[in-house]
């Protein structure tokens, strides 16, 4: 897919006509409209309280000051919430990558009936998003004493993310040459050793795709985090931001600074791993 894209940039499909120019102008306007709210957030995040009330929302702040960021930092209990979110996200995606890799490989390689059933079983989770089942998910967590624990919320992020992960990984399995595995087996490797020494290294790009797609889901999750965690020292960034939104309806320049802080890590992750992200999104969308 990437190669195709490059070719396209070298040899444009059509010549740059007047119609193309019109499209270009139109799309520039539309893109500007899409970006405008983000610029407005950034602009707000630098405004003082006085400027917030007295000047137009569209005017620029008189000076570059970081008071809002400092306030947001303390109000969100930033050190705790940020490291919590970071911890939940990283642990969940690492375990997800490992689990989905082994699961998908076993499903792709073992032809026994149970494994074919497994694939359909996992796909059910894509068709029924966990949000639809938040109530029993909360009850089961409560009964198993998983609420208000780090393990509990990580467990649920894994359980709710595994469907998509298995789907993604299984569709990548065709890129793993089966001959290599057969060679390893003839050399006397067990199934486990074959997987960990031959297959897993080949799955790295797929795992990168899985990691970034899930990281972005978990980082932004609100419903599960708000249900599972009520203790202050376990709260996530999104939950803290939502309480900030409802507590401080008037002083929203602080909220805007909080937004920037929370979006930044995921934006950086996206920009540096864009390639993998797009790969994960387009699985199944392109006719082979």
């Amino acid at each position: 897919m990437n190669r195709k894209r490059k070719e396209k940039q070298d040899i444009p499909k059509q010549a740059y006509t007047r119609v193309t120019l019109l499209i270009q102008i139109f799309m520039t306007v539309v893109a500007a409209m899409f970006i405008a709210p983000i610029l407005i957030i950034i602009n707000y995040s630098f405004k003082t309280k006085k400027e917030l009330y007295l000047t137009s929302p569209l005017s620029l702040p008189s000076e570059l000051q970081f008071d809002n960021y400092k306030k947001a930092f303390t109000k969100l209990n930033m050190v705790t919430t940020f490291s919590n979110t970071f911890f939940y996200t990283v642990v969940s995606v690492v375990i997800l990558a490992l689990l989905c890799g082994t699961t998908a490989w076993a499903i792709a390689r073992c032809k026994a009936k149970f494994f074919r059933f497994c694939y359909i079983y996992f796909i059910v989770g894509i068709l029924i998003p966990y949000q639809a089942l938040f109530l029993p998910i909360y009850i089961i967590g409560y009964n198993m004493k998983l609420t208000n624990t780090r393990i509990g919320i990580i467990f649920m992020y894994i359980a709710t993310g595994i469907s998509f992960g298995v789907f993604l990984m299984t569709s990548f399995m065709s890129t793993v040459p089966i001959e290599l595995e057969e060679a390893a087996r003839i050399d006397g490797c067990s199934v486990f050793r074959t997987y960990f020494s031959v297959v897993m290294p080949l799955l790295k790009p797929a795992m990168a795709t899985l990691v970034i797609m899930q990281a972005f889901q978990i980082w932004n999750d609100y419903l599960l985090a708000s249900l599972y965690v009520s203790k202050k020292q376990l709260k996530t960034l999104t939950v803290a931001i939502q309480s900030l939104f409802s507590a401080q309806t008037s002083d929203y320049s602080t909220a805007m600074a909080a937004i920037i802080i929370s979006v930044l890590p995921i934006a950086i992750l996206f920009i540096s791993l864009q390639k993998y992200f797009i790969k994960g999104m387009t699985v199944g969308a392109v006719k082979g």
Binding site: L135, W219, I259
Partner: protein, 294 residues
């Protein structure tokens, strides 16, 4: 032969060990809850007491009569239809515009994509501010008098939420369409041009059939995504004004968690699961059959 058989058995056992951890976690985290919801939906459990009185289909009978439940579904339904149409149309249009040979395609791609990296809770808040503070300021600037307070009126709240949701997700689906468009071999278009096919015929007979897998993914993704809307509402409308923007999940949350009616709330969850499964089944079937024809 015998040896071979036992080796296969041992391999199968090893594969099983690899599947099992994920299988168990998934079962506990999603499949068992699904059956729990079904079971509780036949009780009048309040979530706290140890007794869960069995009431049969009473909850479902009450649901059908419950105006709040019906209005929640009506809103969710309108929101879903609106999103499915708008997001698909705009995502495809934008993708085609970006694929038409304009310069700096990557820049546009990023501009449209960035909003979907933001949590829906934040998107809701940002649009709350956009409608109540920023856009009225544009009115002042231009001397116009548009009513931008879309979240303040039950009649306009749906359009406001559609704008917010479309702003967030169009770029995501656009990227999928773009990848689909770029995988269409250009000689197909050239051959059609030689045969004298006009732009619309080419779109109808080449672009759409070749995009069929992407269309399936986008339609199913947007529909399921809209049916589960909750985060967006929490920070923007809180289900209001009145109940005008209470989605089915929002209603379940209020009923079960705040109202302590776990049995009744479970019945609501079950209704959503049934709808989700039906929608997915119908769409995948309908859209897949189109793919085969193409």
């Amino acid at each position: 032969m015998k040896k071979n058989n036992s080796m296969e058995k041992s391999m199968e056992r090893q594969y099983l060990v690899m599947v099992l951890p994920g299988f168990i976690i998934f079962t506990i985290g999603l499949i068992i809850p699904m059956f729990m919801a079904l079971r509780y939906s036949f009780t009048s459990w309040d979530g706290m007491s140890s007794v869960k009185p069995f009431v049969g289909f009473q909850n479902y009978i009450d649901l059908i009569k419950d105006p709040e439940f019906r209005s929640a579904w009506w809103f969710t339904f309108k929101f879903t239809i609106g999103n499915t149409i708008l997001q698909n149309v705009f995502a495809l249009l934008f993708a085609m515009a970006l694929d038409s040979g304009i310069k700096a395609q990557k820049l546009y791609r990023t501009a449209f994509f960035v909003p979907c990296l933001i949590s829906a809770v934040i998107v809701g808040f940002v649009w709350l501010r956009m409608f109540s503070n920023v856009l009225p300021a544009i009115n002042d600037l231009l001397g116009t008098n548009f009513n931008f307070l879309l979240f303040g009126d039950g009649k306009t709240v749906l359009s406001g939420l559609l704008i917010a949701n479309n702003w967030q997700w169009i770029g995501y689906w656009m990227l999928i369409y773009l990848a689909g468009l770029q995988s269409i071999p250009s000689d197909l278009y050239e051959a059609a041009k030689v045969d004298g096919a006009g732009a619309f015929t080419r779109f109808k007979n080449i672009t759409i059939p070749m995009l069929a897998p992407a269309i399936t993914i986008c339609v199913v993704g947007i529909t399921t995504g809209s049916l589960k809307v909750y985060d967006l509402l929490v920070s923007s409308t809180k289900g209001g004004p009145g109940r005008a923007s209470t989605s089915i999940i929002y209603q379940t949350y209020t009923t079960a968690i705040n109202g302590r009616q776990y049995g009744y709330g479970s019945a609501m969850s079950v209704s959503l699961v049934i709808v989700l499964l039906l929608v997915a089944l119908i769409q995948v079937k309908g859209l897949k059959s189109k793919e085969v024809q193409a």
